[in-house]
Amino acid sequence: MTTIELGNVSRWYGNVVAVNDISMTVGPGVTGLLGPNGAGKSTVLHMIAGFLEPSRGELTVAGMASWRNPEIFRTIGLVPERDSVYAFLTGAEFVTATARLHELADPGAAARRAIGIVEMAEAQDRKISTYSKGMRQRIKVAAALVHDPEVIVLDEPFNGMDPRQRLHMMDLLAGLGQQGRVILFSSHILEEVERLSGTIQVIVGGRLAASGDFRAIRRLMTSRPHVFLVRSSDDRLLGSALIGRPAVTGVELTPRGLQVRASDYGTFARELAGITRDQGIRLRELLPADESLESVFAYLIAS
């Protein structure tokens, strides 16, 4: 079974630590590397793809070290984040040239197969300079697929795509994962990772904050203490009723409304409805106060 293995991998630039002591195993199927911008996702992907030397630790792909080892690219297909390709080539020329660089037996057939997978056959004879962002992304994926690699690494593959292109790319990656390939992609958008991957690795501040099954991490995220801002016809009455409930751990009256800290998201939501009905309070507004991805990540690090 092909895997990507990181053992206590760190990478620093001078005094700045970009990746701090990360250990993980990525197996077949789709794995999302999730984290806010600047968390170290690209650094990790670049090290996996052999375009950055780990400062410390062990890193292997299919059992081989990837730094200074071009042979690794028989196993890895890389889709870099930057959009620069040989824009003067047509899509078909670009993918065929990549197949030739891999010295495939039949570059033309391999290119047609890869272009077919990403559904770019119609546009393959147009120059890449005329492609939309989503098409460029797909032709880059075709080039990464042309030698039929076991491992595909994609850096922010959904960046700049419209929703339709995004869905298409997600289906594509899901299909490749189901074929038993190791698909590792990075994203800073929770929903993308949620839709696509059963397994996620969350990186925050250069550290691995959470790892494993997405549902478990999702539960961890939803069962954390939540802060809500509630506005009602009688904030004081509502506050006194809420503080009596076990799911509520704190209430504060503020000029903007009632700030409520709840330990359990689901229970709080159910009880709030009951209380307002029983007390005859009209609920005007209910806002989650800390739903930003950063606060979710911050919680994950702390736990």
């Binding site: 079974m1 630039y13 700045v16 970009a18 197996g27 077949p28 199927g29 911008n37 600047g38 968390a39 170290g40 996702k41 690209s42 650094t43 670049h46 793809a49 375009f51 030397e53 200074r68 071009p70 690219f73 028989r74 890895i76 297909g77 890389l78 870099p80 930057r82 620069s84 390709v85 040989y86 003067f88 080539l89 670009f94 040239a97 197949a99 030739r100 660089l101 891999h102 010295e103 495939l104 037996a105 039949d106 057939a109 391999a110 197969r113 880059k140 080039a143 042309v146 030698h147 039929d148 076991e150 189901q178 074929q179 038993g180 390939r181 059963g198 397994t199 250069g206 099954d213 997405f214």
Partner: protein, 272 residues
């Protein structure tokens, strides 16, 4: 939990499928070859496709145009070695090589598209040699051949001077491009560093300090030219064997170093 078990199920199933008959497998031989034809062709197309390629035309225009003009108007018999030899070898050929040599790989490193080339098993030495070959071909086309044509205009197509100039210009195309390709792998300011080398080292110090000539590419080119042309007005200071020997050493060291540096090519991560 369900996801987990589905995952492991999938893992146990798939390897057979992965191993069995996917198309497009490799053609037995390891990725070999000193110069990679695909890289060479892509580089020639990319380099000629950039706007910068218009600058390549300056050298032939100057060399051939001015030679034709001097042929018609000049009375002094020393203008061919002075103009085509000294001016050609210290200004026209090196600048042409600088523009070409720094664009064959430097442009791709700058815009990041080199990653598509490096994310393949092609050996890094082979990438460098292919880029270098493309640069030599272009510099020969836009520098050395115009030198010969200009020499032919000046003293006749079979003259020793024309042939000597051609030999020297070809040698200069090879050695300068090895240096400039290396510079573009080592630094993102390859043009500036290359200009400094040409102006300060070859232009200034080369005239003042004798020993510097031993490490000046224009002197290798002049030495090689002079071994054919035997013309004192070329102001050649090095013998043929020294020029060729040093030229080979400089070329090999520059290319080997470039390949070594390209093997450590790194993408910038985030967080910095």
């Amino acid at each position: 939990m369900t996801q987990q078990s589905r995952m492991s199920h999938r893992m146990s199933q798939e390897p057979d499928m992965a191993a069995a008959g996917r198309p497009g497998k490799r053609a037995g031989s390891p990725v070999s070859g000193v110069v990679n034809g695909v890289v060479l062709r892509l580089t020639l197309r990319a380099t000629m496709g950039r706007k910068r390629a218009l600058i390549f035309a300056i050298a032939p225009v100057i060399l051939i145009g001015v030679s034709a003009l001097l042929k018609l108007t000049a009375h002094s018999p020393v203008w061919p070695p002075e103009f085509l030899g000294v001016f050609g070898f210290t200004v026209v050929i090196p600048l042409t090589a600088l523009i070409i040599g720094t664009s064959v790989i430097g442009a791709e490193i700058d815009d990041g598209s080199i990653v598509h080339l490096l994310a393949t098993p092609v050996r890094r030495l082979s990438v460098i040699l292919s880029k270098f070959t493309a640069a030599v071909i272009l510099t020969a086309a836009f520098g050395a051949i115009p030198e010969y044509l200009a020499g032919a205009i000046a003293t006749g197509p079979a003259s020793k001077l024309a042939i000597g100039l051609f030999a020297g210009a070809l040698a200069a195309s090879v050695i300068y491009n090895a240096l400039f390709v290396m510079l573009s792998v080592v630094t993102s300011r390859a043009i500036a560093v290359g200009l400094l080398y040409l102006l300060v080292w070859e232009g200034l110090l080369g005239n003042l300090v004798g020993g510097v000539r031993l490490l000046s590419v224009d002197q290798y080119a002049l030495g090689i030219s002079n071994s054919v042309a035997h013309n004192a007005n070329l102001h050649a200071h090095l013998t043929l064997s020294t020029a060729i020997g040093m030229g080979i050493v400089v070329t090999c060291i520059a290319l080997a170093f470039a390949a070594r540096r390209l093997s450590s090519f790194s993408l910038k991560g985030d967080a910095v």
